[in-house]
């Protein structure tokens, strides 16, 4: 009935898009995708693994990263288009197939997205792919026209030869070009020659996302498909003892109930019937190995851990304890960070079906190589490529879709496999499954002692962190911790401050967690940046120093980029001026994922609830490939961090059950709580670095530092506003 295009296909002419689509969307198809396929399937030629040119001159860029709003489709296509001297109107983007032999992320060695690496790791290869494609088209034109390639120029999608007056689009030479050997070292542009990089090109996926046409995993329908939901254990680590499906099977539309490794699956004709069937299902759970502690208990155990003494050293310079003994002013602090759920707008889902020689899966896959391997393994295929994995648009991730265990891919495969028949299946998680499903930012405790001498210099800093490893026991362990020791995600952002502190020690302990934990936008920096920047701010205040000038004075010589963003944001906010009555300004600067971000927040209090009126943000992420996307990621990163620091915690009650269930109890930032945001991008010729995550770490401490101006206390037990006592 509906032909499904597994990838994302776009056209950039927005006017045409809108005119062509009003009211025409049927099922899961992307109407323009169909038209684009129809136009391009006839004569599309791949010039290399990343660039296809069609007879109609459209250039399709294959992007190996998942698109969930952070902008890789547009960003990576820009790198290719610029080197090709293409016109932006002819550029489309398509998600590359899951195939590690061609589409591995150089930063990981597997195909996957994360750590704000997309632009950074593709900067050279994608520009080279574009330059290669251009060189091949030019060579083909030169041969056809009988002129030297060196005399041919390309501009705005047009190949031309001034001497003969010959002129052509790309399409006419696509086929001839594809027969040529791609040059190993094509001529690449200098920074001055770039025409598209650095401009606010319209995003390729915007039009499809204003008409309802963009196709997410949730939007995939297959002939004869059933919808499955899984009853998961109410406690982490509990297992199915027995179940009674009789009531569930009486629900209209329910087809089957089967046990799977992660729980009990209910299969139905539609999503609502599946939910109703699950409600009617009776499952007895074995709690023998389950997590029964409350978060209050876990928190107090972690506090005992950090109070018991230092852990394994992440860094140990000078003599921290000795330095602290000479201090005349000291700050001793314990910081408590809760579990945080990612709750992307689109909860987990995916579609799987058997094919003649394997299976095909549609999902928001963020670690394609791992997901593909687990899908194949679970389904009993030896070769991962037996599973055709289609990376769909995803409704957010913030880390949630990148699971080193591929637990969700395993569940999709298990649900497909557990049936008596071989129907295609869509696996759907409800919001409650998502909120209560674990894979949280870990609950984390920091203990810090820092001291000043009489001149207000920091003479000692001793910090101990208790936080579970994110990768221990997973396929990422060997990559991240090849020699054992500490998982850097536990301390990253704490061990290498931009400030020169002579006697400086950071250690960590990694308690085991039965609650599954995962990276959450900006990973360790969510807590390390908060501790560092609130402590520094408080120490500067005790020393009688200005929060901006004092920071600048302490910065190491090799941290000029941190200093530059801090200076810039201070200018933007007109730092030093008196705030409005009842208002305060807080500042923070933090480097993460090789990008540098400084923020100033203007805050007042409504009762005990901080109200954030305005945020100024300066970022240095190297060459700004698309300034508009960078600004959007800063705005989004700020909103994401702000909501969490103010309102969010996942808590386990005395029996170990998650209290929060949906967005009524796990509170999201809403439009009236979002401050105005001004973003400035510091000009740079450095290679570009990521922007998905670095906007998040500074906002928490910037707000906290403003709150301290208003209340006299740094919030150290998060979130700042608590719906429950943990």
């Amino acid at each position: 009935m509906t032909k499904l295009h597994p990838h994302t296909d776009f056209k950039t002419n927005r006017r045409d898009f809108l005119a062509g689509t009003a009211g025409l969307v049927v099922g899961a198809s992307l109407p323009l995708g169909h038209r684009a396929i129809a136009q391009t399937e006839a004569a599309t030629t791949g010039l290399n693994a990343f660039v296809k040119v069609a007879a109609d001159n459209t250039v399709t860029v294959l992007v190996k990263h998942i698109e969930f709003g952070q902008g890789p489709l547009t960003g990576l296509a820009t790198l290719v288009a610029d080197e090709m001297d293409a016109s932006w109107d002819q550029i489309r983007a398509e998600t590359a197939p899951a195939d590690v032999s061609t589409y591995a992320n150089a930063a990981f060695g597997v195909q996957g997205t994360g750590g704000s690496t997309a632009i950074f790791s593709s900067w050279e290869p994608m520009r080279k792919a574009g330059a290669q494609a251009k060189a091949m088209l030019v060579a083909a034109a030169a041969a056809d026209w009988g002129v030297p390639a060196a005399e041919i120029s390309v501009s705005n999608g047009q190949i031309s030869h001034a001497g003969s007056g010959k002129r052509s689009g790309f399409g006419a030479f696509a086929e001839a070009a594809s027969g040529l050997t791609p040059p190993d070292a094509p001529k690449m542009k200098t920074a001055e020659e770039r025409t598209l990089i650095g401009t606010d090109l319209p995003k390729l996926d915007t039009a499809a996302k204003t008409t309802g046409a963009a196709t997410y995993g949730q939007d995939v329908f297959r002939e004869g498909m059933l919808v499955a939901v899984v009853a998961h254990a109410p406690l982490f680590g509990a297992t199915v003892e027995s179940f009674d499906a009789s009531k569930a099977l009486q629900v209209k539309g329910v087809r089957a109930v089967k046990q799977v490794p992660s729980g009990v699956a209910v299969y139905a004709d539609n999503t609502y019937a599946a939910f109703k069937g699950r409600d009617a299902l009776k499952v007895a759970w074995s709690d023998a190995t389950a997590e029964r502690r409350s978060t209050a208990q876990i928190m107090s155990e972690y506090v005992s851990l950090v109070e018991a003494g230092p852990g394994e050293a992440a860094t140990d310079q000078g003599d921290a304890p000795g330095g602290l003994e000479t201090a005349t002013t000291k700050v001793d602090a314990i910081y408590r960070f809760p579990f945080l759920a990612h709750t992307p707008m689109e909860a987990l889902n995916g579609v799987a079906e058997y094919t003649d020689d394997g299976a095909e899966v549609w999902m928001g896959s963020q670690l394609q190589t791992l997901d593909q391997a687990v899908l194949a393994q679970t389904l009993g295929f030896e070769n991962p490529m037996s599973v055709k994995l289609n990376t769909m648009f995803a409704g957010g991730s913030f880390g949630r879709l990148a699971t080193p265990t591929s637990h969700f891919a395993a569940e999709i495969a298990s649900v497909l496999k557990a049936q008596d028949e071989k129907n295609p299946v869509k696996l759907v998680w409800s919001r409650e499954d998502d909120v209560r499903g674990g894979y949280y930012r870990p609950l984390t405790v920091h203990k810090v002692s820092a001291g000043l001498d009489d001149d207000g210099n920091i003479v000692g800093w001793d910090q101990t962190i208790a936080s579970p490893s994110l990768v221990k026991g997973s396929s990422f362990e060997a990559l991240v911790m090849p020699n054992g020791g500490l998982d850097p995600s536990v301390y990253e952002g704490a061990q290498d401050p931009c400030y020169g502190i002579e006697n400086f020690r950071v250690t960590a302990k990694m308690p085991d967690s039965k609650v599954p934990v995962l990276w959450w936008r900006s990973v360790g920096h969510t807590h390390t940046g908060y501790v560092l920047e609130t402590m520094i701010d408080e120490l500067l205040q005790k020393a009688g120093k200005d929060a901006v000038e004092g920071r600048l004075a302490m910065m190491k010589d090799d941290r000029a980029r941190d200093a530059a963003v801090l200076r810039r944001v201070a200018e933007m906010a007109d730092w030093g001026r008196a705030p409005a009555p009842g208002h305060a300004f807080g500042v923070a600067v933090h480097k993460s994922f090789n990008s540098y971000v400084a923020q100033i927040a203007e805050v007042s209090l409504n009762g005990n609830v901080p109200v954030v009126h305005k945020v100024w943000c300066a970022v240095d992420c190297g060459v700004a490939v698309n300034p508009n996307v960078i600004a959007a990621q800063m705005e989004g990163g700020i909103g994401f961090g702000l909501g969490a620091i103010l309102f969010d915690q996942i808590t386990l009650d005395d029996g170990g059950k998650v209290r929060e269930a949906n967005w009524d109890s796990y509170r999201m930032l809403r439009i009236h709580e979002m401050p105005e945001v001004d973003v400035a991008i510091v000009e740079s010729n450095e290679a570009p670095t990521g922007v998905g995550e670095p906007g998040t770490p500074p906002i928490g401490p910037a707000i906290a530092n403003a709150v301290r101006q208003l209340t006299g206390e740094t919030p150290r037990d998060l979130p700042i506003v608590k719906p429950y006592t943990a």
Partner: protein, 150 residues
Amino acid sequence: MVRFKLNGRDVELDIAPDTPLLWAIRDGARETGTKYGCGMAQCGACTVHVNGMPRRSCVTPVSTIEGQSITTIEGVEGPEADAVRAAWEGLDTPQCGYCQSGQIMSAVALLRQVPKPTDDDINNAMAGNICRCATYVRIRRAIKNASETI
């Protein structure tokens, strides 16, 4: 059998009468622009228009809209819808995009009732629509831009 009008066409579905309109639209009529976010009217991703008024389809039993006219993101049109889409595109407002159908449906309904909304009007009309990417700065600006072009 439940009958209603969806984006101008007649739809007839053999589904349980308590089925939320959201799933009737998605699983039944296979219009997928309307999204599932929470299932309890907390996030607004499922916002549609029922006889022109915004409604959270995830908590609306399909039996209660029998015979009525439903408009989704795929079918919404008119000067407000055109202005909102153009403004959304002008600012490249969507990030992941999953909530944006609901955001646009709420924004169109707001502009039909209040052509020149204040910040408070925008807050009141849009606070029920969560955007996890926090595109709120641009949503607010886009609504104002749209209001200037109608």
